[in-house]
């Protein structure tokens, strides 16, 4: 939850300053274990990274809050009940609507809208979608896993209850692909 401060004390070494060679030289001289030292490229705009780490990102941090996972299920169930309450609703249509609705809402929230709805960190998140903001860009975190698996699970359930009618299946499957593709780590931050 506290993503503002990395728990491991760490040191920035920029590759341009020959940081690698000096670190290795020091390592050799001092006989430290070199397995811990690994170098990666410093991001292009250090100021942006600095600002992003300066304060909590209240826009994206809630995914790690208590009950956030349960809330997904609760909202989906509520939506299902609400749609079922409509007169003349069949299970097939209802499940398709729930699935497509969930995909549409999450696509809009997670992958379309950029930035933070309120003033935060001097606009450091302005260029990033919600999905890119989650956990400061780290991949395969518990929250990301959950948010990836929920639509897959929902799709499997809804195709099941639509009795595998080909048109509804196609609808649901396209909706799933549209929300799943931007979640892939490779597509992230494009």
């Amino acid at each position: 939850m506290s993503r503002s401060s990395p728990t491991i004390p760490s040191l920035v070494i920029s590759p341009e300053n020959n940081g690698e060679s000096s670190t290795q030289a020091q390592t050799k001289r001092r006989g430290r274990s070199s397995s811990l030292v690994s170098l990666q490229e410093v991001p292009a705009d250090p100021q942006e990274t600095l600002d992003q780490g300066a304060l909590n990102n209240y826009n994206a941090d809630w995914v790690n809050f208590k009950g956030a996972w349960l809330m997904h299920l609760v909202l989906v169930t509520l939506g299902k009940l609400l749609i079922d309450a409509l007169p003349g609703m069949t299970q097939e249509i209802s499940w398709t609507l729930v699935n497509c609705g969930y995909m549409a809402v999450t696509f809009l929230m997670f992958h379309h809208v950029k930035g933070v709805p309120f003033e935060s960190n001097n606009g450091a998140w302005d260029e990033l979608t919600f999905w890119e903001q989650i956990d400061g860009g780290a991949q395969y975190t518990p929250a990301r896993k959950w948010l990836t698996c929920v639509p897959i699970g929902l799709f499997l359930i809804s195709t099941h209850y639509t009795k595998f009618q080909s048109w509804l299946f196609a609808f649901n499957f396209v909706a799933l692909l549209v929300t799943l593709t931007p979640k892939l780590p490779l597509v992230c931050s494009i």
């Binding site: 274990s33 811990l36 690994s38 991001p43 100021q47 600002d51 400061g136 395969y140 897959i152 099941h160």
Partner: protein, 529 residues
Amino acid sequence: MYNELEGIAHYLQQLPGSSIFIRYVKSSYQNDPWRSLLELLLFLFALRVWLSKRTRRDAEKGFVGLSSTEIDELVDDWQPEPLVPQAEIKQAPTIIGPPSIKPKVSQPGQPSDKARQVTNLVSYNFLGLLGDQRIKDAATKALRVYGVGSCGPPGFYGTMDVHIDLEKSIAQTLGTESAIIYSQGFATITSVIPTFAKRGDIIVADEGCSFAIRKGLQISRSTVRWYKHNDMNSLETVLDSINREAKRRKAPLTRKFICSEGIFQNDGSLANLKRIIELKKKYKYRLILEESYSFGVVGNTGRGMTELYDIPAKEVDILVGSMANTLGSAGGFCAGESVVVEHQRINSAAFIFSASLPPMLAVSANETLSILNSSSGPNIVHSLQTNIASFRSVLSTIDSIELASHALSPIQHVFFSQSKELQIISTSQKEKSSEEERVEAVLGDICDDALVNGVFITVAGHLRGQESDIGALSAGSTGIRVAPGGAPPPTEPRASIKIAISSALSKKETEKAALVVKNSINRVLKRRA
């Protein structure tokens, strides 16, 4: 084998909820192997995601993980550099007693009782009011009433009647709706820029802007485009290119500012305010004008750039100045419309988080303003301009130097000419130092020689390595660092001797001091040749 599978199936059936799962799998197949395969693949994908290992977050990339022993070792190894380089302090001449136009100055490395009286062309004593009796009296009176400090930030019982009086008289002097005072001159512009401009906003700035402005631009995180120093065509090209780019990218409308100094701290040149105002109106920009060196100095009655160009100060959206220079006090001010000022009272970091200006200093600044506004004001400004002119006329006869500063600027920079500079750099013994430092070493010799001959001058101080450290300035989402027709982010300022002319000297005294400087330049250059 079969028995084993049977056993597993039996075991599965024992699990709670397994019947639902088995029913689901059974009814899913529906004689459609392709769809079933697809669903299986999706399930496997979800499983793969679930079992993948977490990667680093963006902020952690480029970090080197060190164990606590390694950290301890590094900490033990670390030798802190001295906060103040001892050697430089010893080399500097010292003013003994209060600074004035003729202070007692001890030579570098000499005891203070050997101090000699010299002409001071170092202090920003443009109006010659340093140590003026009227200001002293007013300050003493305020000291008896208010004590020394204001003991709090302005929004938190740090504001006193004298602060409000000073704000009013600054606004009145300039003819703006309102004004706000800050307690540090440097922090004023550094804080005002980020108050109005944020990430994504556009600032078009002169490449010759001072260190304080550069820091302000950096803190604001805005998209900064630079135009060539004092080149109005370059400014127009940059403004035009930004417009075209915004149209092409269908960029959202953002706040847009032009940022310039009135008289430039780094070279004493004068901005073409008239043209800047024209361009700002044409391209719908707001203007941030830094008047630290022009307020109180240019214009018939010293009201600054707006008076000089006969433009109402209201045309400048954000007019910032220092009270530490001409007004002989401390702190800075920002004048403009009342909305501009009120916005700063709750949004400007330096205003909110610093204790307000000591009342005594506010009174001193106000007293200077009232002297400037009195009938003697124009005379003081006029005699300053005469002194600048006579100083320049003496120095203009030397070939190997450049007087790049404007004829109205109270700070006159003495640069070596390009050819001389190159010669000095190539013949310098100091191979390890930067080009600027090599030139500064020779300029320092000139200053030392002038001090021996009774004129106190100094090399313009720069935080070498810091001022050019703005490469990280945001290029915004576009990634463009140099606009077409514009300039790249500024580098180190050129080395120069910065001479502060004062109206406290007579025309003859100024000429005499200029002659000393001239002789020192010639002597040092001759010695080197």
